[in-house]
């Protein structure tokens, strides 16, 4: 069965109780926190694989907590939101979340999202592609998912890394939105264009010398994305 350490950050005790009981029964190790501050504190002490983060919390809200977690950690984050509104979803992803689930959710749905978020691409990028990218001034360290562009170093989250790997392995080919979503997030996905928009933007900020004028991650209007890898 699945294993992994999950931190549940939610201000509602009943939800924390239900999550703890249910996720533990599904072989996850669960720790919980009552608010953003406590969550950040607990995150510092132990290695977690995933954070379930409530969006609406008193004090430091979910989005702010997410941003703070992201500033120091690449742990996977799923946001739990009440609102189904586009702007809240995009807000969550923009703050650095990997996925979101709308409350109230069914447990099988949440478990599927957790599996999809923790799911890794089987293959890291090829050495030849990494070398060609390095000759363009972009160096990627596979073990630490660290990326260096013109002396500026940043870390990629697992999902960002997978998205980059998938595009890089198929460089100079247009990959459709659906194919990308299903490959990187899982077979249950396919229409979540907002995920790609946000994640490609996040990647561009880390990999492109000038994110407003992308030279690697090219948008193919209405179709998908293409990784342009110049010949060295």
């Amino acid at each position: 069965m699945s294993t992994g350490r999950i931190l549940v950050i939610d201000d509602d005790p009943q939800i924390r109780r239900a999550m703890r009981t249910s996720l533990t029964a599904h072989d996850y190790q669960v720790t919980d926190a009552r608010n953003g501050e406590e969550g950040l504190e607990k995150l510092r002490s132990a290695g977690f694989d995933l954070v379930l983060l409530d969006m609406n919390m008193p004090g430091m809200g979910g989005v702010e907590t997410c941003r703070l977690i992201r500033s120091s950690s690449e742990v996977a984050i799923i946001m739990l939101t009440v609102s189904n509104a586009e702007k809240d979803k995009v807000g969550a992803l923009d703050a650095g979340a990997d996925d979101y689930v709308t409350k109230p959710f069914s447990m099988p749905e949440l478990l599927a999202r957790i599996r999809a978020t923790l799911r890794r691409l089987p293959q890291p990028p090829d050495q030849t592609e990494l070398r060609r990218l390095a000759s363009q001034g972009v160096e990627i360290d596979l073990s630490s998912r660290q990326i260096t562009v013109r002396g500026r170093t940043s870390h990629l989250t697992a999902k960002e890394f997978d998205l980059l790997s998938y595009l890089l392995a198929r460089h100079d080919k247009t990959i459709t939105h659906r194919e990308l979503l299903q490959a990187v997030w899982g077979p249950d996905y396919g229409d979540e264009l907002e995920y790609l928009r946000v994640f490609v933007n996040r990647l561009r900020k880390k990999i492109e010398p000038d994110p407003s004028k992308p030279q690697f991650l090219i948008t193919e209007a209405w179709a998908g994305y293409r990784f342009h890898l110049p010949k060295s």
């Binding site: 509602d12 239900a18 009440v82 189904n84 586009e86 109230p104 069914s106 099988p108 396919g190």
Partner: protein, 503 residues
């Protein structure tokens, strides 16, 4: 009283009349001028005996003084008097108005011309000076007024402040302003002139100037870009034409500024109240959904895990709880959606979208409900793009789909069909349910209306009302075609992007 149209000319005539009135010499000043001439005559005739030339020069000096301190009329009268005195007292034969030596005729005539010219010149110079001083005064007043109008207190009505500032800056005894937009009259100054209100309205309406010289009253229209926006009555005005025009322009700008400020304030209040409502509804949604979340997580987990090996009756009971949770959750969602969009007071976030992607996004949201139902979708990718709020249109599709799923037998197919029709895109959801009786068809879009029959209790009675509110906000239609026993087709229209996008 005179009513004159063709305002420019009449304003000038009125002002020149006022000017004349002001400079008309008082009899006191004439007497003073004549006394001065008499005094000189007395001194030179009785006390100092000097020749006529010296006396004439002294007269000239006196006339210059009179012309500088008085006006043209005083100095002209003084010139004539001096000429007569010179002739009578100093030119031989003395004591008569006749002159013996023809040379003296020339001298006397030269004296008269010189004194008249001198008085005219100095009077003109004096008038110029006075005019310059007046203009400077007017400019200073106008400047202080424009400053005051810029610094008006936003919490008090602007027109009221405008009249007060005018009365204060120019020290007019009475100023009345008629604001045509609000149809209000504002007074400043000592007296109230109720009978003038009708006059003010007429002046603004006809854009003509009204003069009442007896009371020193002018009523002029206030125009902005040629359009009369009010009228201004001033009592005791001595303003030049140009200054009056500048004053009217300032008033026009002030009134216009007040109007635009009001519009901004109204928009701000509306925005804040929409924001407040939205925040409040978010909080309510959160409070209701939090307990529902834990119930749903628990029930779905129990039902999903075969290893729990639940006895059948327990599984049934938990299923009932799970269904109740879903229903309650839907009720909360629908009630909040309805509250959010009711009355059309919300902002549409229109963008260009393709009908096929709207349909597939709606289907994705419904994934869990669709399970096991046959849904045929016909939404060609080459349909023209539409100009809509995607989130709301998806909501319409999901409500129609939910309706179809709820009110048709569980094995029956449902179809979604998007097509182009008469410059719009139509999206229709068709089911093969029992259909809707004709007398009910007009009422199903009403809030909380639910069809007769037990299966209708599953609905919240809000879905179709929400759908209609959303379509109303887009300025589009939603309707149903249904026949009892043959199923129903719900359709709505969407505007094409090319029309809307160019707005």
């Amino acid at each position: 009283m005179t009513q004159i149209s063709g305002s420019g000319l009449s304003e000038r005539r009125f002002l020149s009349r006022l000017f004349l009135k002001q400079v008309l010499p008082s009899s006191g000043r004439i007497i003073a001028a004549l006394s001065l001439i008499a005094a000189i005559t007395f001194v030179f005739y009785r006390l100092l005996h000097v020749n006529a030339t010296t006396t004439g020069l002294c007269y000239l000096v006196a006339i210059l003084i009179i012309a500088t301190s008085g006006g043209l009329i005083e100095s002209t009268i003084a010139s004539l008097a001096a000429m007569l005195c010179l002739n009578y007292f100093f030119l031989p034969p003395i004591g008569t108005l006749t002159i013996a030596d023809p040379e003296n005729w020339v001298a006397l005539f030269a004296f008269l011309v010189t004194s008249l010219t001198a008085s005219q010149l100095s009077a003109r110079a004096k008038r110029r000076t006075k005019e310059a001083v007046d203009r400077q005064y007017e400019i200073e007043r106008l400047y202080s007024l424009s400053r005051a109008l810029l610094l008006t207190d936003a919490t008090k009505p602007m027109p009221k402040q405008v009249v007060q500032q005018i009365a204060q800056a120019f020290e007019f005894p009475a100023v009345i302003l008629y604001d045509r937009h609000r149809d209000e009259i504002h007074h400043a100054g000592e007296e109230d002139m109720p009978e003038l209100e009708e006059r003010l309205r007429q002046v603004a309406l006809r854009s003509t100037v009204f003069l009442d010289s007896e009371r020193g009253l002018t009523i002029t229209p206030v125009r902005l870009g040629g359009r009369p926006i009010g009228s201004l009555a001033i009592r005791g005005s001595s303003l030049s034409d140009a200054a009056l025009q500048s004053l009217l322009n300032l008033v026009a700008i002030g009134l216009e500024r007040a109007l635009s400020q009001e519009a901004v304030n109204r928009a701000e209040v509306a925005r804040q109240s929409e924001e407040l409502k939205s925040t409040l509804l978010d909080a309510i949604a959160h409070e209701f959904k939090t307990p529902l979340t834990s119930i749903k997580a628990v029930t779905t987990d129990l039902l999903s895990d075969p290893s729990h090996d639940l006895p059948r009756h327990q599984r049934e009971l938990i299923t009932i709880a799970a269904e109740g949770t879903d229903r309650l959750s839907r009720l909360v969602t629908d009630a909040i959606q309805l509250a959010r969009i009711e009355g059309g007071k919300f902002t549409l976030h229109r963008e260009i979208h393709f009908p096929s992607s709207l349909v597939s996004a709606a289907l994705r949201q419904m994934k869990s409900l669709i399970d096991g139902r046959e849904i045929t979708v016909s939404a060609p990718d080459d349909l023209p793009a539409v100009w809509v709020d995607a989130e709301l249109i998806q909501m319409v599709i999901t409500h129609l789909l939910e309706n179809g799923l709820k009110y048709s037998p569980s094995g029956s197919p449902i179809s979604i069909n998007a097509r182009s029709s008469e410059g719009r895109v139509l999206i229709c959801v068709t089911d093969q349910g029992p259909g809707i009786a004709e007398d009910e068809q007009s009422r199903i879009f009403d809030k909380f209306y639910r069809g007769k029959g037990e299966q209708n209790l599953k609905g919240t009675g809000m879905g179709l009302a929400i759908a209609r509110e959303i379509m109303d906000a887009h300025g589009e239609q939603i309707w149903v075609v249904s026949k009892e026993g043959e199923g129903s087709e719900f359709c709505f229209s969407l505007p094409l992007a090319r029309q809307g996008g160019s707005e």
